[in-house]
């Protein structure tokens, strides 16, 4: 199905996870630390990365940061083992697509991987079935997972694109955090605050293009909505 890269400094965990993913039909490559992980990524062919946060030498955050700074939007899931890691993992600076807290259920990890891959496949999708979505200066091309603001393309991860797509499908309508999570991932296991960090990331990306851009509006106590056409 897909080529995954597993990075963790615990060989036992790597081994049992490899077994599980191979059972699910994926091809798995492993790396014992962030530095080795980056080398494996350079070799190419990886479609999704699952990385531990706490590793010697190059940790999960550093790996993710390096990847994003290099302009990659490769789907990446971080395996966190501290509550304090979660905010940082999803923060603007690191930019992981998702996280799973250790110790996790293999089933949950697999479903996250599947969800991310599905969205990722859309990006590469050849079938141009869905029409371009335009709201004001915003242009979304679902078949290629491409986003443009006032004609300028903005690099977004699949999760960010899906979030914006949901909001853009019904401009002006308020989506609660729970509803957004459901639409994004099909589950609400994780705290809804993960949505906040996605929104923050999107806002920053818009601001880099146009400091005055105010596309996503926070509705206090309710959720988020897309500002109507201007």
């Amino acid at each position: 199905m897909a080529r995954l890269l597993l990075i963790d400094d615990d060989p036992s965990l790597l081994e049992v996870l490899t077994l599980a993913f191979e059972d699910a039909g994926h091809t798995v490559a492993t790396a014992p630390d962030g530095a080795a992980g980056l080398r494996a990524l350079d070799a190419g062919g990886v479609e999704l990365v699952i990385s531990d946060v706490n590793m010697p030498l190059v940790d999960g955050f550093a790996l993710c940061r390096k990847l994003r700074q290099g302009g990659s939007t490769l789907p990446l899931i971080l395996l966190t083992s501290r509550d304090s890691d979660i905010d940082e993992a999803l923060g603007l600076d690191v930019g992981a697509d998702d996280y799973v807290s250790k110790p996790f259920s293999t089933r949950v990890l697999l479903s996250r991987v599947t969800a991310l891959l599905r969205r990722s496949e859309l990006r590469r999708g050849s079938k141009a079935t869905e029409p371009t979505l335009s709201v004001g200066r915003l242009e979304l091309l679902p078949e290629r997972v491409e986003l443009r603001y006032a004609g300028t393309p903005i690099e977004v991860t699949v999760t960010e694109f899906r979030l914006l797509e949901c909001l853009a499908s019904r401009p002006g309508v308020v989506f609660s955090r729970e509803r957004l999570l459901e639409l994004l991932r099909g589950d609400t296991v994780v705290e809804p605050r993960i949505v906040d960090t996605y929104v923050r990331r999107l806002r920053r990306k818009f601001e880099q293009v146009d400091p005055a851009a105010d596309v996503i509006e926070t509705v206090i106590g309710a959720g988020y909505r897309l500002r109507g056409a201007r």
């Binding site: 615990d10 965990l13 081994e15 077994l19 599980a20 059972d23 083992s81 110790p103």
Partner: protein, 508 residues
């Protein structure tokens, strides 16, 4: 739980009240005490006077035959015919330290032997300590009039004898006397014995009733004063106590106790604040440690959980079951190692047991541990070199020092090049013992050198260690009053050092 504790009986307030009352009542108490003492030595003086009188009368009537053997004292006092009479009575007077006078029927003084210098300290205390200024040998006659006209002399002439003490308010002396009429060679004589003591507080004694009234008047004011002083003393303490007790209810008590007054309680508040700060530091360190530990637990637990889920799926081949069993074993071993090292570290950080301290030769220990490492299967391709020629005695706990050696050896061995060398050096220098363990591995980058002794900081993979080994080394070395250090050139291997204090005086 945080109610104010019951006040103890001997509280500060009570003590202050007692002190004030004591000060107020002091003059009265002094007079009362002196009176009591005076009564005692008055009766002693009286007895002395009566007893001496008997002896003096006897001496007066001694037959002349005994005068042939005069004592040395008698000859020095007397002269001529009267020497024997004088000496006998005078000897009695000197012996009992009294004044003895012999009078004839007309009241003329025939003899006067004055040795009344105070019989013991209690009689003389008034003169010696309080300096009443009246001399005991002169004053009684001034005070009580001419001897021949005194009541006791008249009574002796009329009725044969009299005795008594005089301690009237006006006099500054206590005078005890005894008189008796007797016959000397047929002639009527009166022998008069007198013993005196000074009275130090004649004025206070005279004022004792007024003094009592004055004390009663002052008493309410004194009680008010004691209440006020007590409040001033105890108030700030109680305020501080309430603040401290309120800390009990706080989840994370902050070191923000306010001094209720700028006196000694301020220092007390500061002391409490210092204590709270130290406790806070300790708690933060503990929380960080527990957080680290929980974090470290999660990897093996995640593996165990994943294995469990994998085993639960329907198609488990025997090969896979075997593989999963091995993974389960590895993870549980790792959990076990984590728990035991964690406990060891917690113990070392809490300090080493007092009774286990002894003089230990580190060189000797190092020889034994290096020999063990040489025999270890895991490192059979490594060479272990030991440089520990001289004994290196220090005060320490042998068990802990063995752990230090083992962990440093394990660390060096796991970083050494394949077929490489681990060098252990033990040196005893002036006032300290140094242990150095070096490997020839990749070395430690400068930016990481300061962190290698932190717990859970490791550049090794999880299968090679728990991340607690070097933290344990540091905890044990510091519990010995020593410190650890690291020296490394990238590519040239690393040297981990532990330096222990070993003052020569503390060793046998």
């Amino acid at each position: 739980m945080s109610r104010s504790p019951r006040l103890p009986r001997w509280s500060l307030r009570f003590n202050v009240a007692l002190l004030v009352l004591a000060v107020v009542a002091a003059p009265l108490l002094l007079v009362a005490a002196w009176l009591r003492m005076e009564r005692q030595f008055e009766s002693a003086m009286q007895q002395n006077a009566s007893f001496t009188l008997v002896e003096a009368v006897k001496a007066l009537n001694e037959p002349p035959a005994l005068e042939a053997a005069p004592t040395a004292t008698a000859t020095s006092f007397g002269s001529g015919a009267s020497a024997s009479l004088e000496s006998a009575v005078a000897r009695v007077a000197r012996l009992h330290r009294v004044r003895v006078r012999v009078l004839d029927a007309a009241g003329r003084v025939l003899e006067d032997d004055d040795f009344d210098w105070g019989r013991d300290l209690s009689e003389r205390a008034g003169g010696v300590v309080l300096r009443s200024g009246v001399h005991a040998r002169v004053a009684p006659d001034d005070l009580r009039g001419v001897i021949s006209e005194r009541a006791e002399v008249r009574q002796a002439l009329a009725q044969g004898g009299a005795e008594g003490c005089e301690d009237s308010a006006e006099t500054s002396m206590v005078v005890c006397y005894a008189a008796r009429a007797t016959r000397q060679a047929g002639a009527l004589r009166v022998v008069h014995v007198q013993d005196t003591a000074e009275r130090p507080l004649p004025l206070l004694y005279a004022l004792r009733f007024q003094l009592g009234r004055l004390t009663l008047v002052i008493l309410p004011f004194a009680l008010l004063l004691s209440f006020w002083v007590g409040k001033r003393l105890v108030g700030p303490l109680e305020a501080l106590r309430d603040q401290v007790l309120s800390k009990v209810r706080e989840q994370r008590p902050r070191a923000d106790l306010q001094a209720p007054a700028s006196n000694e309680t301020e220092q007390l508040a500061q002391a409490f604040n210092t204590l709270l700060e130290r406790l806070e530091e300790r708690r933060n360190a503990n929380e960080a440690f527990v957080a680290d530990l929980v974090h470290e637990f999660k990897n093996p637990v995640a593996t165990i959980r994943a294995c469990g889920e994998s085993l639960a799926s329907s198609d488990v081949t025997p090969e896979r079951a075997q593989r999963l069993a091995r993974l389960l074993h590895e993870s549980s071993t790792r959990l076990d190692a984590l728990v035991s090292q964690f406990l060891e570290l917690a113990r070392a950080e809490a300090g080493l047991r007092e009774e286990a301290w002894a003089t230990v030769d580190l060189a000797e220990l190092a020889r034994a541990r290096v020999a063990r490492a040489r025999a270890d299967e895991r490192w059979k391709d490594l060479r272990f070199e030991l440089q520990a020629a001289t004994p290196a005695p220090l005060r320490g706990v042998a068990e802990g020092l063995e752990t230090v050696l083992d962990n440093l050896l394990v660390n060096a061995a796991s970083f050494a090049r394949p077929g490489g060398q681990v060098t252990v050096v033990v040196e005893a220098a002036d006032g300290h013992v140094e242990l150095r363990v070096s490997d020839d591995g990749p070395g430690i980058p400068a930016e990481e050198a300061s962190r290698v002794f932190e717990r859970f900081y490791t550049t090794r993979r999880h299968d090679k260690g728990t991340g607690l080994g070097l933290a344990l080394v540091r905890a044990i070395v510091e519990a010995h009053g020593g410190h650890v250090a690291v020296a490394s050139e990238p590519g040239q291997g690393a040297t981990l050092k532990a330096r222990f204090p070993a003052p020569a005086s503390s060793l046998p």
